[in-house]
Symmetry: C2
Subunit: 464 residues, 2 copies
């Protein structure tokens, strides 16, 4: 843990040109480093935080960030009164001074970035705004930018994140909270300690029945049977915008909760990389059925042709010879699962059913329940911050993630999950769409690191 004094020193360094830190040594390798906007050090020594997007997701970020005593939320931005009112309530409940609010136009965030000075800006907006906002924040000289998942929708957007981070020297963090899930971190520790042997195969995905999130009555976040069925401006939450991605796109729209942890297990972009991908989608039935079941066959949405197949599966091959299956299903009735599997030459973990088998340690041909293994290999971050995390949302993984990001900021270090992770993981969306549109064709994965993966070392959540 850095002391307050350390923090002041490193923050000062950051403001003064960001020299002589590991963070900048990484950035110096970038082909082009754009001139930084002049930044002044934080006057009260606190980390100056900005938020773009103040919806449901950001409320959890507020909870966590406001609990860090060395931070100050300087300004926030949103276009929705609903979201801003919700945010005001959150600040009030926490007894915190309300930050400056930017609202009105969709591009008001640009004014916020121009007018204010931030050490970090966190972005939790509709998917289509992630990259424009991240790029703008980096170009405005914000040294740390955190963007929600998925980070990017198209291949060009993936490259925009990488190019802008390299050019500006700003650190882009993909806010992939599942990388910090307690079981995911324990199995990462087990993998690093060789329990599973040489890794060969992983599975993951996002199997989450979001039908009642894609439609609501504009009052309740989740659709309540019997109420009106809306999407777009009349709705709230993700029903305002996310549903349109199900109408227009057929692919794995939300790969990172699954592929993030897998990326860490397999050291993607750090000695390994994705090389090939192919995807297939089932027919699209779930959303139409949901509309008809709840709104009747004459509901105006019953004529919509939802492009998104109910279940999209993607196979990925890595340059080190592992394969990965990624699943996307947000249209089917089912219990939630990220469906992790982590397998190697000496054992494997199944998330569904929660079982582990380790050759020579488990009874031959018999599963162990995971619990004992996961407890034994509990990750340092959870041992250290687990108690504080218990009070936070999403099983505490959001708290651990924010703590890890803010520790990087305090110590002026590279972000735990960077622009290459954001690009490689999010690229599955655009590539799967292309593969499906072309009959499941196998596509080459671009190397967003442009060869740097060969020498880059594992970095995420290392235990010293």
């Amino acid at each position: 843990m850095s002391t307050r004094r350390d923090f002041l020193k490193t923050t000062a360094l950051a403001g003064a040109g960001l020299a002589a830190t590991s963070f900048m040594r990484a950035a110096e390798k970038a082909p082009i480093v754009a001139p930084q906007r002049k930044r002044t050090p934080s006057k009260d020594g606190r980390i100056r935080v900005g938020f773009i997007g103040c919806g449901f997701r950001s409320q959890e970020h507020f909870n966590n960030v406001l609990s860090f005593l060395d931070t100050r939320v300087v300004a926030i931005c949103d276009i929705s009164d609903f979201s801003l009112n919700m945010t005001k309530e959150t600040f009030k409940k926490k007894g915190k001074e309300l930050p400056k609010i930017y609202q009105g136009s969709e591009h008001e965030y640009e004014n916020m970035l121009k007018n204010e000075e931030f050490d970090v800006v966190l972005i939790a907006s509709p998917w289509e705004w992630h990259v424009p906002m991240s790029v703008a924040a980096m170009k405005a000289g914000v040294p740390y930018v955190g963007v929600e998942v998925s980070a990017a929708n198209t291949m060009d957007e993936c490259w925009d994140l990488v190019n802008t981070s390299e050019e500006t020297g700003s650190q882009l963090m993909i806010l992939e909270n599942v990388c910090y899930r307690r079981d995911v971190m324990a199995t990462l520790k087990m993998a690093r300690e060789g329990l599973f042997g040489e890794l060969t195969h992983c599975r993951c995905g996002y199997e989450h029945d979001l039908r009642a999130v894609k439609f609501n009555d504009g009052k309740s976040y989740s659709y309540v049977p019997g109420t009106e069925l809306k999407m777009g401006p009349g709705a709230i939450g993700e029903a305002v915008w996310r549903t349109f991605h199900s109408i227009e796109r057929n692919g794995d729209l939300y790969p990172t909760h699954g592929i993030g942890p897998v990326g860490n297990w397999l050291n993607i972009n750090r000695g390994n990389r994705f090389v090939k991908l192919s995807s297939m989608a089932t027919k699209s039935r779930g959303l139409h059925k949901f509309v008809v079941d709840n709104g009747g066959p004459n509901h105006p949405y019953a004529d919509i042709n939802f492009k998104l197949g109910d279940i999209v599966t993607t196979m990925i091959e890595t340059i080190n010879g592992e394969t990965i299956i990624v699943t996307h299903d947000t249209n089917s009735p089912r219990p939630y699962s990220l469906g992790f599997r982590l397998q190697g030459t000496e054992g494997l973990w199944y998330n569904d059913g929660d079982t582990i088998y380790i050759e020579g340690k488990s009874k031959p041909h018999q599963w162990d329940k995971s619990a004992d293994w996961l407890q034994k290999y509990d990750h340092t971050l959870w041992k250290k911050y687990g108690d504080a995390a218990q009070n936070a949302g999403h099983g505490g993984m959001d708290y651990i993630m924010m703590t890890d990001l803010f520790n990087a900021i305090r110590e002026n270090k590279p972000v735990p999950l960077d622009c290459y992770d954001a690009a490689a993981w999010s690229a599955i969306s655009a590539l799967s769409e292309q593969s499906i549109a072309n009959g499941g064709v196998s596509l080459d994965f671009p190397d967003f690191t442009r060869g740097k993966w060969i020498n880059r070392k594992p970095h995420f959540a290392l235990e010293s």
Copy 2:
């Protein structure tokens, strides 16, 4: 149940030219019907059975077939003294008269087929002999031929099975016992009764640690640590031949235990068909590691380059818009699983973890344990024959399968799982090899029914 008298009648019909039965009505549609070898009716009215291949697998078939009082094993054939001695023991233990034995040359089965008259011949030989033996049996005029899994290794072999069955009018049954597994049949019943809604996605595979079966000391079927490590002529069981497929081939070498049940759930070849496939394989590590771990780094097998990737995954798309994931893993340490998933617009079953969720019936977002559902939807075949099956091997599914096949023979009906099933399911092997060899390319699936899938109706294990 047919009476003995019914059986005599239908057997007589079969012997006399096989007219006026549903079985022959199906065969009449075939483009060419070759002249049948003249067959005489069974003198004692019993079903005359022949066996080609008398190894470990056939011992379970002997157990079941010898328990049917209206059958008589006429002749058996094998080249291995070990297998024939094991078989003699089995007959002795059952108190049954030893049948005529054909042995000596690899082609001795041809003499057996020429010399003897059979109502059914069952083939359980190394994979590379399945098709030549099946084709020879059909061409010899045997009306029912049962072949073990996988049925065929190449695309040509798949077509050979289809063409020969169509040309000769002989019924080819693929002996896919997992189609008769109790949970698989219960979920088939659930699917047919609409519990899962419209089906969208299935998963299956063969994840069975066979390392200790691919090598042994020539005495014990499973490798015993500390003993000599052999394959080929010095070994016994599958180590004699199966291991060479792991050296020479990279693909899903054994798809039918998984895809068979899925084929029935999705009505493949009967209103539906496979249209596309692509496959990826992991690096190959498990077998080399096993050799080194048990035989040391200087063991002669340590230099072998095993082509078979440890885990092969295949994605399949059907013409009705479902997708399927098939897994093959016989090289990794792990508990056995066929990894079934059966999913539709209203619910799903997971084999791993054994959970079911049915919308509107299960508690929202919560899994039910499968047991109650599976018991409630227990299939008629199991209700009827379950007690008798309890004493048989493989959880009784072999007994149920043989009963179903022999009931078809008794009633002169089409086999439950026919040449089109054998071809379409087994084709995954050759197609996955092609896909992997070409970087995961997506391949078109041939239509082995030549358009008949459009009008063919579901047939397997129908409950009236």
